[in-house]
Amino acid sequence: MPRIELGSYVEDFITWLLRAIPGVLDAISAVVTAITDALTLALTGPPFWIWIPVLALAALLVRGVGLAVYTLLAFLLISSLDLWAETMETLAVVLVAAVIATAVGVPLGIWAARKRAASAVLRPILDFMQTTPVFVYLIPAVFFFGIGAVPGVVATTIFAIPPAVRLTELGIRGVDPEVVEAAHAFGAHPRQILREVQLPMALPSIMAGINQVIMLALSMVVVAGLAGAGGLGTVVVSAVTQLDIAAGFEGGLAVVLLAIFLDRITAGLAQRPLTGYWTKLRNRQSAPATARPATEPTPAAAPAAG
């Protein structure tokens, strides 16, 4: 076979890109950095004994006592492992990446569910995003956005988008066509059908997608660490190069504890009816006003992300 020098064309292209649109790249970098830094500051600024009760309270409101207890214990364990700051840094990166991935992925999934052609075009692109080894685009990402949190966020986002797209598409395609037809028959706008019929009915699938987004984002923690994003990735990488199983395990454990927390929180947000204390509180408040408990129609919720 003749050798095709595909790689060098790409390299040239990247170099060209770097020269052509530095402003754009810098702007993206600046925005993402600002957001991530702000979030990191917010999370690492106050000491752990302020944040832990806050997080536990959030868990209580969203899901209930069980998760609140878990949150308390998990984050106490993390801080007793001396990994509080690193965990919060990681949380910031993961949150930013997951929110971007969801915000991009869900609409793409909706588009793919509506148009066969879109689905056919997206599919190989998603394969590409998920399987190109992150290391391959990590370096261009560093070229584009500089060392720090941004290439980590970018790489994480690229890797985490596909499940959001795929599972949104799957979920929307699975919605009973007769119900959609009924919505059409009542003159609903496609937007309304999407918001009030398709998304709520596809919610279990979409939430599975968001769960995967979060999981994949967390699984990229180490890679983000290699690009200078700090956080638990740094801990794990150092531990591994030192063959320090103990430190590596502790770092990994912190990631997992964070993963379980985020998983449960998102699952809680998606649950209908809501089981958290927030709902109970709201119901209790509205009860005297309307004199009939629980008559307040639960708003048919769009999924947590937009």
Binding site: A183, A185, F186, G187
Partner: protein, 408 residues
């Protein structure tokens, strides 16, 4: 066969011309249409081309305020037809006009507007939103329309009360029985309060009592609010009771359209005759359908002897006596006439008349007059609002009308 009324087309609320729908596409669909044009049957088309000809060349008008019933065999294209009426499926051919506007010419926004404000639909398989409560389902059309929360609430509440589900407003559809779910679908359409209602077997899962209420409700809505209703049903009695006119489909083609009694009296073919054989004639047929000219009526100035002779000829024992306008005054019996003849009385006196007779209106169903027929020597009198005698209902005529032409 065309059912387009000859009276001005501007009067039609729904007007279909040559409506056709083929499930399938490409050359096979074209071939199917062509075959059908040559009179090839649907099953054969299905086998030859693989596509289904669901509706073929159907034309009809529905007048504003009309309750238009569609009937036909299972699979004859009824659901497809109503779905074509609000363009949930695009026709393969033909045109539809709603209130004078061609449906095909509407853009998306106009179509939505039409569906939302002018028409609402009850689905054969209910098609409720499973994640919303009964109340939210009932309010769905209104919610899409936008507008005040309170108003929506009120109308939803009203619709749920109409269908008898106000106490289950907070349940989810999955927690309801089949008939309850169907009524939620009904409430959803009612709450929308549109001119046109498309109803695909809306009462199929209802028990007789609730069904009766729902029928009454529909008739009331139609009468009071002048709703135009296209109503699919498999219940002949329901069709006869509700339908101003009935359209019969067979294999996607229109077979007959007309009022219930018209169809009963003159079925277009054996299919229709067979189709309507099971109808409960006591409820469908009215006094008008069994009316007979009275064999003999008398006036006050009639000669009793003369009358007695005519009575004998007619093998009767009594006769209605009418005034000059044809109003019923009473009944004269042969025994009095014989007496009068004996006493040479020249005229029938008012005092001689008895009131042992019964009257009814021409539009009363037979079920209501069965008790009254044959109670008296004179047959039941059918009178108009001014008590003018229109005719009589002999017992034998009732029995003959009720009997079905025997099936092979």
């Amino acid at each position: 066969m065309s059912a387009v009324s000859s009276t001005g087309s501007e009067a039609a609320m729904i007007r279909c011309q040559g409506l056709t729908k083929v499930f399938g596409s490409g050359p096979a669909a074209t071939e199917a249409l062509e075959l059908s044009g040559r009179g090839v049957g649907r099953t054969e088309i299905q086998e030859r081309t693989g596509v289904t000809l669901a509706v073929h060349d159907v034309s009809f008008d529905v007048r504003p305020g009309e309750l238009f019933v569609v009937m036909g065999l299972s699979g004859s294209g009824k659901s497809t037809l109503v779905r074509l009426l609000n363009r949930l499926i695009e026709p393969s051919g033909g045109t539809i006009e709603i209130d004078g506007r061609a449906l095909g010419g509407l853009d998306d926004a106009e179509l939505r507007e039409l569906r939302n404000r002018r028409m609402s639909m009850v689905f054969q398989h209910f098609a409720l939103l499973p994640h919303r409560t009964v109340r939210q389902n009932a309010e769905y059309g209104l919610q899409i329309r936008g507008g005040a929360e309170a108003d929506r609430r009120e109308k939803g509440e009203w619709a749920l009360e109409q269908v008898g589900l106000a106490d289950r407003a907070e349940a989810l559809p999955g927690e309801l029985s089949g008939g309850m779910q169907q009524r939620v679908g009904l409430a959803r359409a009612l709450a929308s309060d549109t001119d046109v209602l498309l109803m695909d077997e809306p009462y199929s899962a209802l028990d007789p009592l609730i069904r009766r209420d729902m029928q009454a409700l529909l008739l009331r809505l139609q009468r009071e609010l002048n709703k135009t209703v296209v109503f699919i049903t498999h219940d002949l009695n329901e069709a006869m009771l509700l339908g101003d006119r009935i359209l019969l489909l067979k294999d996607g083609r229109l077979v007959q359209v007309g009022t219930g009694p018209e169809i009963l009296a003159a079925p277009a073919d054996d299919y229709v005759a067979d189709f309507v054989a099971d109808v409960d004639r006591t409820r469908v047929l009215t006094a008008a359908d069994v009316i007979h000219q009275p064999r003999l009526t008398a006036h006050l100035d009639d000669n009793p002897a003369d009358l007695l002779r005519r009575l004998g000829e007619a093998e009767s024992t009594a006769a209605y006596v009418l005034d000059d306008e044809g109003r019923v005054l009473g009944v004269v019996h042969d025994d009095w006439l014989a007496l009068a003849q004996a006493t040479r009385t020249r005229e029938i006196t008012r005092e001689s008349l008895t009131d042992d007779y019964l009257t009814t209106g021409a539009d009363r169903p037979l079920i209501d007059i069965l008790q009254q027929v044959g109670r008296h020597p004179v047959p039941l009198a059918v009178v108009d609002d001014e008590r003018k005698l229109l005719g009589v209902v002999p017992r034998a005529a009732v029995l003959a009308a009720l009997a079905t032409p025997s099936r092979s």
